[in-house]
C-alpha cells in the first residue's frame, strides 16, 4: 500500500510489513501503525515511519552495532504479549536522537527500547527500570567513558 510521508513523499509499503503497536509509542499513544524504511541497503540507521501520521518518523538502529554488550531483561510477560514463542523472536531497536546540524552528538535511548516481533508484526516500546544505561547514550565516540 502507499503511505504518505512528509520526509519522503509517497512510499510503497507491503501491507505485511506494517507493524502494530497496541499502546503506540510513549508520548504518542494514538500512533499505532508503523513501517520500517531502509534508506540504503547497507545503512545501519533506519526510519520508523508512522503509517497514519505522515510527519511522524523516528530514526532507529540496532543498539548492538554500537554497544555490543547492551542487554536488557525482558519480562516473561513481554514474550507472550508480543505473541512470540521465545525471546529469540524479538528484535531490539533503539530510538536515535540526532541533534540538527550535530550528527556527531547523536544519542540512543537505551532505557526506552523498541521491541519488535517482525513475524507477528507487533511492537512495543519498553521502559527499562534500574538500568545502568541512559536515555541519551552517545553513539559516536562515547565509548571511552
Amino acid at each position: 500500500m502507499e503511505i504518505q510521508t512528509s520526509r519522503f513523499g509517497r512510499v510503497n509499503v507491503d501491507e505485511d510489513r506494517i507493524i502494530t503497536m497496541k499502546h503506540g509509542l510513549i508520548g504518542f499513544p494514538d500512533q499505532r501503525r508503523f513501517a520500517i524504511l531502509r534508506p540504503q541497503p547497507e545503512s545501519v540507521l533506519y526510519w520508523y515511519q508512522s503509517v497514519d501520521n505522515p510527519k511522524l518518523a523516528f530514526v532507529i538502529t540496532s543498539p548492538f552495532i554500537f554497544i555490543p554488550e547492551y542487554s536488557i531483561i525482558l519480562a516473561e510477560g513481554i514474550v507472550a504479549e508480543m505473541k512470540a514463542q521465545s525471546r529469540d523472536e524479538l528484535d531490539i531497536y533503539v530510538l536515535v536522537t540526532i541533534p540538527a546540524g550535530h550528527p556527531e552528538k547523536m544519542t540512543a535511548n537505551l532505557i526506552g527500547p523498541l521491541i519488535i516481533n517482525q513475524k507477528a508484526r507487533l511492537a512495543e516500546q519498553l521502559v527499562v527500570e534500574d538500568s545502568p544505561y541512559s536515555h541519551k547514550h552517545p553513539l559516536l565516540g562515547g565509548r571511552k567513558k
Binding site: R7, F8, K22, H23, L25, I26, G27, F28, P39, Q40, S43, V44, L45, W47, L56, A57, F58, V59, G77, E81, L95, V96, T97, I98, A100, P103, E104, M106, N109, I111, G112, Q125, V127, E129, H135, K136, L139, L140, G141
Partner: protein, 82 residues
Amino acid sequence: MLVLTRKAGQNITIGDKIRVSVIDIRGRQVRLGVEAPQEWPIHREEVFLRIQAENQAAAAASPHDLTQALDLVFKRKGEDQA
C-alpha cells in the same frame, strides 16, 4: 487530584481492577505496591517523562540528519578498522 492519607499496610483501590498498597515507610521513602491489569504500563514518573521527552526529540530528525549521521558512522568504523 484526590489526596488520601494512608498508613503503612493500607490500600487504595481505583475502579475494580487497580489497587495501590502502601507496603512500608522508611524515613523519607515509601514503598508502594501496584496491582493492575498486565496491559496497563506502570512506571516511575520521572523515567516515563524522560523517555517521552527523548521520543519527542528523536521525532525531529530529518533525512539530512540521518545521512550526515550515517556518514560519520561509516567514517568511524573505517577508522576503527584502520
